[in-house]
Symmetry: C2
Subunit: 351 residues, 2 copies
Amino acid sequence: MKIAVLPGDGIGPEVTREAVRVIEALDLGIAMDEALVGGCAYKAKGHPLPAETLDLARASDAILFGAVGDPDCDALERHLRPEQAILGLRKELTLFANLRPAKVFAGLESHSALRPEVAGAIDLLIVRELNGDVYFGEKGFRQNAKGEREGYDIMSYSESEVRRIAHVAFRAAMGRGKRLCSVDKANVLETSQLWRDVIVEVAKDYPQVELEHMYVDNAAMQLVRAPGKFDVVVTGNLFGDILSDQASMCVGSIGLLASASLGERQTAHGTFGLYEPIHGSAPDIAGKGLANPMATILSAAMLLRHSLGLAQAADRIEAAVAAVLADGVLGGDLGGTAGTAEIGDAVLAKL
Amino acid sequence: MKIAVLPGDGIGPEVTREAVRVIEALDLGIAMDEALVGGCAYKAKGHPLPAETLDLARASDAILFGAVGDPDCDALERHLRPEQAILGLRKELTLFANLRPAKVFAGLESHSALRPEVAGAIDLLIVRELNGDVYFGEKGFRQNAKGEREGYDIMSYSESEVRRIAHVAFRAAMGRGKRLCSVDKANVLETSQLWRDVIVEVAKDYPQVELEHMYVDNAAMQLVRAPGKFDVVVTGNLFGDILSDQASMCVGSIGLLASASLGERQTAHGTFGLYEPIHGSAPDIAGKGLANPMATILSAAMLLRHSLGLAQAADRIEAAVAAVLADGVLGGDLGGTAGTAEIGDAVLAKL
Ligand SMILES: CC(C)[C@H](C(=O)O)[C@@H](O)C(=O)O
Ligand SMILES: CC(C)[C@H](C(=O)O)[C@@H](O)C(=O)O
């Protein structure tokens, strides 16, 4: 079993280090190899996603990813910017299914901007498509009929792209509360109309799942009003980007939220995937030992479960994290004083 | 001075009736003519936006709009559905600037799902572009290279479209807290890159306004975490649809929120525009006298201010609404028992 570790920029390396320590402590016989990605890869190799990084990722069963983003790279051409590394990995490795669970940890309800009874009820999973939509269509600048400069991006989804993510979402719903909410903007977009048609077709294979369609503007409202009403939400790349971040913030502690981006390839014991905390590279606190590594440690747990078939080890990590939080060992993001290594040590001590 | 009154579907007619009564009570010498729009127009005339409705709107200084949407019309072809009426009005009348203020009324902080101190701090204005973006680009179904069906929609903005809305937003910021947040997804979309370039260019004309750029996913997070930090937000049609609804729900009482959609044409005393409550047609409670007419009454106040230059009359209406709310006369949407006409009567009594 082999994991590619891509720490990336900013706080990426320090939070990844703690997650690696946790995996090592479990003594599971997993090989881990590191490679550069993002702004640091651009600086060292001239590209945010160097060929050797992609090769390492391809030769692994899973990727543990830190974060990318570096203010030094803001002025670069788009294709050289750090974010292109994550978009490139998603596309090159067909990581099409982003799973973002959002749930409030017991005792941390008061960290949300939502009223505690609203936040405490949140237990949802957003399934976001990652390989299509306006992210990867033709785009550029052109002259319009009036001779003016115009920026454009083509949004599109094909039937097979929607079908593939629909099956992931329906299966996820079967393993949870058996309710699926598909989010689109079918009253305006033909891309959404096709999305909706295919979702309805795939629903026939899952008669036990209660399916609902919701417009994206309404979904953004309901995620404020009553986020506890959602079980599984499935949506496209662009709406998923917005709604999954909104949902994460509802939980109130984005330093605790993990994510998985699964591909099509099966590994010996699961599905190939990339695992990353949902927070970014936070350049302002990078290198200071202040970042909360919990989201990356929980991403490592998802990795063990989904890509390596090590559900028991994943359970152990998640229980240790919950125990540390219950002890009140909190990072600065949650009003606590615990640093990166201290939180890592606390998790190791519980294991 | 002439207002076109377009009550529309569902609760549209009953809430509009109260707003019309309020305008009449002020005895401002305004002529008001009604026309059909939405599902009821389709049923009576075969089109959601009949030519005579558009003609009446064109011949007026402003439009007071109720709501459109009718479940009977869900199965119709897209171009005949009720929502096309509002999209058609926006496009045909060049109503390009949607202004959506969101502010919590004193005493109603506890109606938000956000903690009262978070909700109570909200006082923002979203300026949404309404004539461009993926809403009005070429769209349809096509076969992709693999021979599969694909839905597509072209997103685009030209320089002049962005410049026009940028000036509206900067001027609005000058009249408020002098802070503007422009929301885009420039790390992925070329449409957003052009948007950002033009915003930066227009900013030179408003050196007193503090400008910030924010990615849409981050904006969706910040609207949960600390919505009180925003002053004016400017964004495109699609992101504006999502974020303005999210912001409205943060306030907790969408039955109280008004909106203006302004055009380019100047009237004798202001700018031609369409005014509507942000809530929809709510078919489930239509015709029962239960709907809260406050948002439409407040839309009428915006109409008097922006299109007819009657700022004093607008102030009087807004003060009357605030007084009625302070008296605890609340609709069912706010946990009260007051019906549509009762709330209208209470506002009239205060005038
Ligand atoms: C960095 C950016 C391109 C990316 C996205 O929009 O997908 C990020 O926001 C995310 O959600 O992983
Ligand atoms: C009805 C729909 C087409 C419309 C939109 O998306 O603009 C509505 O959601 C709005 O915000 O006015």
